[in-house]
Symmetry: none
Subunit: 149 residues, 2 copies
Amino acid sequence: MGISDLIAGFIQEALEDSDGVLELQRSDLAQRFNCVPSQINYVMSTRFSPEQGYIVESRRGGGGYIRITRVRVDRETLLMHVINSLGDTLDLPSARAIARNLVDNGAISLEAGRTLLSAVSDAALRAAPRESRGAIRADVFKQVLIHLV
Amino acid sequence: MGISDLIAGFIQEALEDSDGVLELQRSDLAQRFNCVPSQINYVMSTRFSPEQGYIVESRRGGGGYIRITRVRVDRETLLMHVINSLGDTLDLPSARAIARNLVDNGAISLEAGRTLLSAVSDAALRAAPRESRGAIRADVFKQVLIHLV
DNA sequence: TTCATTTTGGTCAAAGAAAGTCAAAATTCA
DNA sequence: TGAATTTTGACTTTCTTTGACCAAAATGAA
């Protein structure tokens, strides 16, 4: 088991203790594990991505930090299910139906649903070439859901 | 957390207490926080800009002051203002800043803000050709805001 | 009044402090 | 072995802190 796994484990434990949110300093952590700072970025992107149920925010400069938030799992499963069922391309009527469903199920708020739909509307994607619109619509839709988890 | 954040926090509290307007002296504040006076200017420009809902006026010379006023515009006006200020293209950092602001101002919910940002993320627009990404991002952003008004 | 002095605040650029990116090198795994 | 994953480090970007120098308003003396 490599260092990346150790670091990931450490973070996950710390997340338990701190009830889902954790703020740390990249260089601190790097020192603790005797690795280069950029390895922390690697761990973040491979083990704490939104797809895996985490939101990672950060800030540079003096007093900088990396904040990791673990998102709740209830909705996660439902949303992930929907996300995984989505193909590479998506048309507007389907998008509407799915969004409607998620709102009805209480998985996302009405406001979020509306936001989602306007983000994939034809007006929003008018600058995108016709032939890739479906793909972009699918990507946007997925990204939104992933981040809403 | 750095000094700038401390100062900003202090000012915000004071603004609460004084119901939206606050008059202070640059050198006083600098002394209180043990920093150089120009740091106060830094805090003003990075944390109390008009985009963030504040008006900062000042006067030099004897009895000089810095006056900070928090402005509260209603949500519709604010949203329209933001929409109109958007150009034909939009980069991700700007999108983030604007969304953050709207959330902070209570113009849109945190959930809507997150949704908006994930809809214009690079991941969401990866199928779009590089050169039109900025344009699509701007369109999506606008559409979402328009529908939220 | 006029002008010099004092009292404030303003600007800007350099230095410092984190974090981010990217690709090469090393390692592990199938 | 060959592909995928991990580890490293040089270089970049962003944000903060500091200080030298600048500009304006008030005040008081001539």
